[in-house]
């Protein structure tokens, strides 16, 4: 699949990684190359095997997995055949790794200076300790971190998330490797921090000629960083090609659907989710693994795996209908979605009834003031998006309304004209029922020891006087609303995918028949493809039930797809508040403009 260039740094040939001892494939027949100074984006949903493939480049497998075949060559070194001492030299020397979660990847017991110096020492960088010290200071400069002694003596927890990620990147660049593997390094970061980190990566790869493999589930993040993109699904590469070609003329239905799932600030239509979820290893079907979720599958797809083909050697695709897709075959069945444009030109107070009225609220965390004199309103049948970065106070405000804030609140929060007590226990049963909360992580918000039936029965039991059959009927009905099968009732949360879990969490809120639904970053833990499906669901539910919604997010790009109004928060204050189109098209606050600028976008000529 290579062009005429000969400066190949990395060659992966037919890589197979399996679960040990079951032999179930995680990665199957993965092949790609990376040239010198080139950045390749490896894109796929959770469970696609992308991280497994990425760590394989360092001959590292997590417990219970092993390489069953294939060859990995980095600058002439056959990585998979190395002895342990040789491998130690390669890891952190020839090739280095930047993990997803820098805060968990830095040792909490060691000073960052020591951790940075360690990689130089272990690889005997230079010829003297003085030279290594000098390199340490230089590394800090490269990633734009202070290099004074006091900073180097800090422990990881004394750094911000962005600083931690820079430390990890500095570590990866320490011995001037030929290639670095970046495993979703910005997923846990705010957009502005993400933008800075991406800029640093771009700068380092271009100035030092380092090649990179950038692993992500979000095509928008890599749209202005990578040279080529490889799309991975169920352990196989389904399409690989130059960046521009993939955005403007993708041949695989999956690639196109991934593009369609990206919430884009400049997009003219809402993102479309991909129904279902990517199959985990062991649940994959014969033939094309994407066929069950594909809207343009044909009979052959279910039985025969398509060969790699494509317009040229640089752009390869694995689909029976790639030529038709390239010529514009629609990959999304069903009608086009539109933005929830029941939106109005002026703030709602005069038109709709106010459901939740937040007036001059100042809230404290312990003794620290975290919300400063915040006022906003949520109207009937409307969705208000609350946007801000971590620490902006958006979740605190949501929790104040929900009655989950444990510290002092000044000011008034009214619900249907009546003041709400600070904590839920001071509120009436009707008030508690009317305001429901959906949490950020579907992995920790569902009790792992309860079945979905038990989880859903609880609110019914508390708020309604239903007999057994009535409860069962209600549960089936609400599962249908969130597009889940009623057969899931007997399952435990861990048996479900992240998207399914979040649907259960939504069902648990809906079953109480609320009039206000508070969604706290409900998609931030999900893949973009699943995020789009959840947004579609929430928009549909809002239209169907008329529930008022407070949608808390750090992602401005999502706002247009779900809300009519938006409030932008910074440092505990609302800095801009208005109708979505007005705020996004003509932002007044400096901070809103900054956020808009840092939000990743896809090229304007992107074709789906």
């Amino acid at each position: 699949m290579s062009g005429a260039r000969t400066d190949i740094v990395l060659t992966v040939e037919d890589l197979r990684v399996v679960l040990d001892p079951s032999g179930i494939e995680i990665d199957d027949g993965v092949s790609f190359i990376i040239h010198e100074g080139e950045v390749l984006g490896l894109v796929g949903e959770s469970a696609s095997g992308k991280t497994t493939a990425a760590t394989s480049l360092l001959a590292y497998q997590r417990r219970g997995a092993k390489v069953a075949g294939g060859r990995i060559d980095i600058a002439g070194t056959d990585v998979l055949s190395l002895s342990r001492p040789e491998l130690r030299k390669v890891r952190g020397g020839l090739i280095s790794y930047v993990p997803q979660d820098a805060s968990a990847s830095l040792n909490p017991a060691l000073r960052i200076g020591d951790q940075l110096l360690e990689i130089l020492n272990e690889h005997s960088f230079g010829s003297s300790q003085a030279e290594r010290q000098a390199r340490l200071l230089e590394m800090m400069d490269e990633v734009l971190l202070p290099n004074d002694r006091a900073f180097l003596r800090r422990y990881p927890h004394q750094l911000s998330g962005g600083q931690q990620q820079r430390v990890v990147i500095a570590m990866a660049m320490a011995n001037r490797p030929r290639i670095i593997v970046l495993d979703e390094p910005t997923t846990a970061l705010d957009v502005t921090t993400q933008a800075h980190v991406l800029e640093t990566v771009r700068h380092l790869t271009s100035s030092y000629g380092v090649s990179a493999l950038y692993v992500t589930h979000d095509l928008a993040v890599v749209s202005c960083l990578v040279d080529r993109i490889a799309i991975m699904y169920a352990g196989r590469l389904v399409e690989i090609g130059p960046r521009a070609d993939l955005f403007t003329g993708a041949y695989h239905p999956y690639t196109r659907r991934l593009l369609a799932a990206i919430p884009d600030i400049h997009a003219t239509r809402p993102p479309r989710g991909i129904p279902g979820s990517a199959p985990r290893p062991g649940n994959r079907v014969a033939g094309c693994a994407f066929a069950p979720r594909c809207d343009c599958r044909i009979d052959k797809c279910a039985t025969e795996l398509p060969p790699y083909a494509g317009p040229d050697a640089d752009h390869q695709v694995c689909c029976w209908r790639w030529e038709e897709v390239g010529q514009g075959l629609s990959v999304i069945a069903g009608e086009e979605l539109v933005f929830p444009t029941t939106r109005v030109e002026e703030p709602c107070r005069s038109v709709n009834n106010v459901v939740v009225d937040v007036r001059n609220v100042t809230a404290f965390y312990q003794r620290k003031e975290v919300l400063h004199d915040v006022s906003t309103t949520l109207c009937e049948h409307r969705c208000l998006a609350l946007v801000g970065e971590s620490g902006s106070g958006k979740t605190t405000l949501a929790r104040c309304i929900a009655g989950l804030h444990q510290f002092k609140i000044e000011g008034a929060i009214e619900f249907n004209g009546k003041p709400l007590a600070r904590e839920t226990r001071g509120r009436t049963s009707a008030e508690r029922q009317a305001i429901q909360y959906i949490f950020q992580s579907p992995y920790s918000s569902l009790n792992p020891r309860k079945t979905i039936r038990q989880l859903l029965a609880q609110p019914i039991d508390i708020f309604f006087d239903l007999d057994r059959d009535g409860t069962e009927e209600r549960m089936v009905q609400v599962l249908e609303q969130v597009a889940l099968e009623s057969s899931l009732l007997n399952r435990y949360p861990e048996q479900l995918s992240g998207g399914e879990r979040q649907r259960v969490a939504i069902a648990r809120a809906l079953v109480a028949e609320p009039s206000v639904l508070i969604c706290d970053e409900v998609t931030s833990w999900l893949d973009v493809s699943v995020q789009a499906a959840i947004i579609e669901l929430l928009v549909h539910l809002q239209g169907e039930t008329g529930v008022s919604m407070l949608f808390v997010t750090h992602n401005l790009a999502l706002v247009r797809s779900i809300a009519q109004e938006v409030a932008v928060m910074q440092d505990g204050r609302i800095v801009e508040h208005g109708v979505v189109d007005a705020v996004l098209d003509d932002p007044q606050a400096e901070y809103t403009r900054l956020l808009l600028g840092d939000t990743p976008t896809i090229p304007a000529d992107c074709r789906i």
């Binding site: 968990a104 360690e118 272990e122 422990y155």
Partner: protein, 322 residues
């Protein structure tokens, strides 16, 4: 004031409060026992009401309870633990002094032997998890933990003192009047017995926390940085894995210090455990009160030390001090 000193002082204050409560409970409990000290001393003669009343007066047992308690507590604070009710009525401090020293040496030796071995075993079974070594250590630990200490002691005596080899004395009647150096042999079997009682708990705890830490992302990161395996274990994993184990070590040492009565009896070792049992049997209340208070103080002190040590080796806690 340095924040650590502040915590230390605060916790010491709390410790004193704990001991005060313990002293109340001890005093109340000894009062609640059937018969009083006068009856205990007189034995059968307590039927003689006149002598009984006279002795009660002499022991101040006729005073109100509150006064008895404050008198006793005042004595404790001044270092006067009262006089024994048994025999010639020796000073309690002199009576238990030798036993406390013996027990202290025994516990110290047991701790010095068991902690390093536990750490080594725990760490090695964690890196060689599910290997033959790990399984063997695991099996041995479980068997040791399921056997009572005195059974282990008897087995050791059988093997090393009587039936098989005759290398070591089976009786450890340490004499505190003779120099310690000549008596080290007497400590060997009790120390091994106690160490075998502690090692399973500490090493299994350390294994569990090390396994967890070895699965962490910072250990993965260290490996992907090219750090050697021994350095990964000793430099990256253990400093983090040891933290939850410190509390377990402290509780185990405190447990040893409380006196393993059965072990002391087996080896006829003159320690605090056996001393306490004797004192209870003899209704020697001042000795019971003194020993129980001492053991409570050791628990408080060891737990405080564990907390301070935890703070010292966890940067997050240390730098979080205000």
């Amino acid at each position: 004031m340095p924040p650590l000193l502040k915590i230390l002082i605060m916790r010491l204050g709390l410790g004193v409060l704990t001991l005060l409560l313990v002293s109340l409970v001890v005093f109340a409990a000894t009062q609640a026992l059937p018969g009083d000290a006068a009856k205990a001393i007189l034995g059968k003669d307590s039927a003689d009401t006149e002598r009984y009343e006279a002795l009660r007066k002499q022991l101040r047992l006729d005073r109100p309870l509150v006064e008895q308690y404050t008198n006793w507590l005042g004595g404790v604070v001044r270092g006067d633990l009262g006089r024994s009710l048994v025999g010639a009525g020796a000073n309690v401090t002199d009576l238990i002094g030798a036993r406390v020293v013996n027990s202290a040496i025994l516990v110290l030796l047991a701790a010095l032997v068991s902690i390093p071995i536990s750490i080594l075993l725990g760490a090695l079974s964690a890196i060689w998890r599910d290997s033959k070594f790990d399984n063997a250590v695991n099996m041995t630990n479980l068997s040791l933990a399921s056997l009572p200490e005195f059974v282990i002691g008897i087995l050791l005596v059988l093997v090393f003192a009587t039936a098989v080899f005759k290398w070591l004395p089976s009786v450890s009647n340490v004499n505190s009047l003779l120099p310690l150096a000549g008596q080290m042999k007497l400590f060997v079997l009790p120390v091994i017995t106690l160490a075998l009682a502690v090692i399973p708990y500490v090493s299994r705890m350390l294994r569990a926390s090390t396994v967890e830490v070895l699965e962490s992302e910072y250990v993965m990161m260290a490996r992907l940085k090219g750090v050697s395996e021994p350095r990964v274990l000793w430099h990256h994993a253990l400093p983090n894995a040891i933290v939850p184990t410190i509390q377990v070590i402290a509780i185990n040492i405190a447990w040893l210090a409380g006196g393993i009565v059965t072990v002391e009896y087996l080896f006829t070792f003159p320690g605090v455990g056996a001393g306490l049992v004797d004192a209870v049997a003899n209704r020697d209340m001042p000795v019971v009160q003194a020993l129980v208070l001492l053991m409570a103080a050791i628990y408080v002190l060891l737990n405080l030390m564990a907390d301070i040590f935890t703070i010292l080796i966890s940067p997050r806690l240390r730098t979080g001090l205000r």
